[in-house]
């Protein structure tokens, strides 16, 4: 399944914060983790991750620091802050409510009949 663009955008912040809550990471590793978690079905435009990270940094949700990669390149690492954890907890609640509501809807209503077939 391909995930809709708007849905990816909406889930980007909690996803990144959640991943950083597991441990400090740099940009490429964050994206790799997103791929693993979603089984490759959440495709981001790689470049868009960085403005997002910078926004989270401005909001105080993450900290960044420059380090060096194994190959000796400059690499920017991101770590979640206390404020970031609070924000993450709040987002988690919101998403739990949404997911819960959706699950109930899926269970109580019957699957929509395949209309096209009926009319054919």
């Amino acid at each position: 399944v391909r995930i809709d663009k708007d849905l990816v955008a909406a889930s980007a912040t909690p996803l990144v914060l959640g991943i950083l809550a597991e441990g400090d990471l740099y940009g490429y590793a964050i994206l790799k983790r997103v791929g693993e978690l979603s089984g490759g079905s959440m495709q981001w435009t790689d470049g868009m991750l960085y403005p997002l990270l910078h926004r989270l940094e401005r909001l105080g949700y993450v900290n960044s620091s420059w380090g060096t990669s194994e190959a000796g390149r400059r690499r920017k690492h991101y770590a979640i802050t206390a404020t970031g954890r609070e924000a993450l907890a709040e987002r988690q609640q919101q998403w739990t409510v949404v997911a819960d509501a959706l699950r109930q809807v899926w269970h109580t209503t019957q699957r929509p009949p395949s209309v096209t077939e009926g009319w054919a």
């Binding site: 740099y26 940009g27 490429y28 435009t45 790689d46 470049g47 868009m48 960085y50 403005p51 910078h54 926004r55 401005r58 990669s69 190959a71 390149r73 400059r74 690499r75 920017k76």
Partner: protein
């Protein structure tokens, strides 16, 4: 071999991304790290360098969209900031450390202040001090350029000799105190000194038209920066004066005795440094101002001409008006110079060039009216140093403007390249220096130092 090709590709990509204003150098580093990780991973799955690079670029996304996203997050970056002290970079490129330039600028600024302050306390006669003011400040400004441009001893000598000559003339000539010869010398000596500073500015390459044009640009930006510094200083001293007077302390003696003698000459050096530092960082503001003021000045000149012709000529007008008109013509000339300095020489003639021609023509008409008035006055009342100095300046301006108009017409009709219009301006500049030198050096003996 293949490795080098990949590096070259990444290098090209880097310089392409760097051109985006919203993406800072650090961001490019971050993106490059990402790109290289992605490439390495693709290579590990068996792609060759080229394919890996292409996939990595594709995954990074449309650069326009990404840079737009960066701009949304960092809108401040679209406003270029003037960085006076750039953060030290790791790679040592052998450049001059920024703090050293700042230290030199501040030392020179304070030095200029000390020179002026010493001058005030040593030279009791106000007129003598006025004659020497430029001489006191000039060495510090020139020293800044000399350091910045690494002047050769030969050029430094070429600066020192006229400077010394000027200093001797201004102090040895037995001027009648408060006479017009002295007043003219006081007015014209700074012009000579400023053009000497120009010699230092162009690093001795005074024959180069483009370097001369750079100095013209510098002069305009310098005037604007100095005005800004002066305005800021005025606000600050105004507030201080007000606060002190409310407390009941009189700040004015300190202001006139210490603050002004240091701030006014010091700001000259600082303004020069600011213009040097910003050079390629910010748009020049002077040409933009000319766009606004060229049409307005045309209206003003036409109104002036109308009033003069309604009054039936300028024969019995005040001398002050003539001086004011000289100032107006100098303003027109600056408008002309700055719009030319900013114009792309290869661009085709446009509406603004036409407008400029109208401005120059109106200025020529005003100048002609003034010359007539002056000649009439001279015929009626005889010569005086003031009249000759004003007459000479007007003739110089008239020649400058007529030739500029002639060349502009040729350019508008497509017969001449714009470069000719431009070169005329820069080649004519030394004439003003020569005239100012004549007024300072030749006029006093000619008119018996009166």
């Amino acid at each position: 071999m293949a490795r080098a090709e990949l590096e070259a590709q990444i290098g090209r990509w880097r310089s392409y991304v760097q051109r985006r204003q919203a993406i800072s150098a650090a961001d490019v580093d971050e993106l490059e790290d990402h790109l290289r990780e992605q490439i390495a991973e693709r290579q590990a799955t068996g792609l060759d360098d080229d394919e890996a690079f292409l996939v990595a670029i594709k995954r990074l996304g449309n650069l326009d969209a990404v840079s737009q996203e960066f701009a949304r997050e960092h809108s401040d970056r679209l406003w270029k900031q003037l960085v006076l002290l750039p953060e030290s970079t790791n790679d040592d490129d052998g450049g001059i450390p920024a703090w050293r330039e700042l230290a030199i600028v501040l030392t020179l600024a304070v030095g200029a202040g000390i020179a002026v302050k010493t001058g005030i306390s040593l030279i009791v006669n106000e007129n003598v001090f006025a004659r020497n003011l430029g001489l006191l400040v000039f060495p510090f400004l020139a020293a800044y350029f000399a350091w910045k441009r690494q002047l050769s001893p030969y050029v430094a000598g070429a600066l020192l000799i006229p400077f010394a000559a000027l200093a001797v003339v201004l102090n040895v000539y037995p001027f009648t105190s408060g006479g017009s010869a002295e007043l003219l010398a006081v007015l014209h000596a700074p012009v000579v000194l400023w053009l000497l500073a120009g010699l230092a500015y162009v690093g001795g390459r005074w024959r180069s038209d483009s370097r001369r044009m750079d100095f013209v640009r510098f002069t305009g930006e310098f005037a604007i920066y100095y005005t800004l510094l002066a305005l800021g200083g005025a606000v600050l001293t105004g507030l201080t004066l007000g606060a002190f007077s409310l407390i009941g302390t009189d700040f004015e003696p300190v202001l006139t005795a210490w603050v002004l003698p240091f701030a006014v000459p010091g700001a000259l050096v600082v303004a020069a440094w600011l213009v040097e530092a910003k050079q390629d960082v910010l748009e020049n503001i002077a040409p933009v101002l000319t766009r606004i003021f060229t049409p307005l000045t045309i209206v003003m000149l036409l109104a002036l001409l109308g009033v003069i012709s309604a009054a039936g000529g300028l024969v019995d007008v005040d001398r002050e008006l003539l001086i004011l008109m000289d100032a107006i013509l100098i303003l027109v000339l600056s408008l002309l110079l700055y719009s030319i300095s900013a114009r792309d020489p290869l661009a085709r003639p446009n509406l603004f060039d036409g407008l400029q021609l109208v401005l120059v023509t109106a200025a020529i008409a005003v100048d002609a009216v003034m010359l007539t008035a002056m000649l009439t006055r001279i015929a009626e009342f005889g010569f005086s140093p003031n009249k000759i100095a004003a007459l000479g300046l007007n003739v110089l301006l008239l020649v400058h403007l007529i030739r500029a108009a002639w060349l502009t017409v040729g350019f508008l009709r497509g017969r001449r390249p714009f470069g000719q219009v431009e070169n005329w301006q820069t080649r004519y500049l030394p004439v003003y220096a020569a005239w100012a030198a004549v007024v300072v050096v030749v006029f006093p003996p000619l008119f018996a130092f009166a």
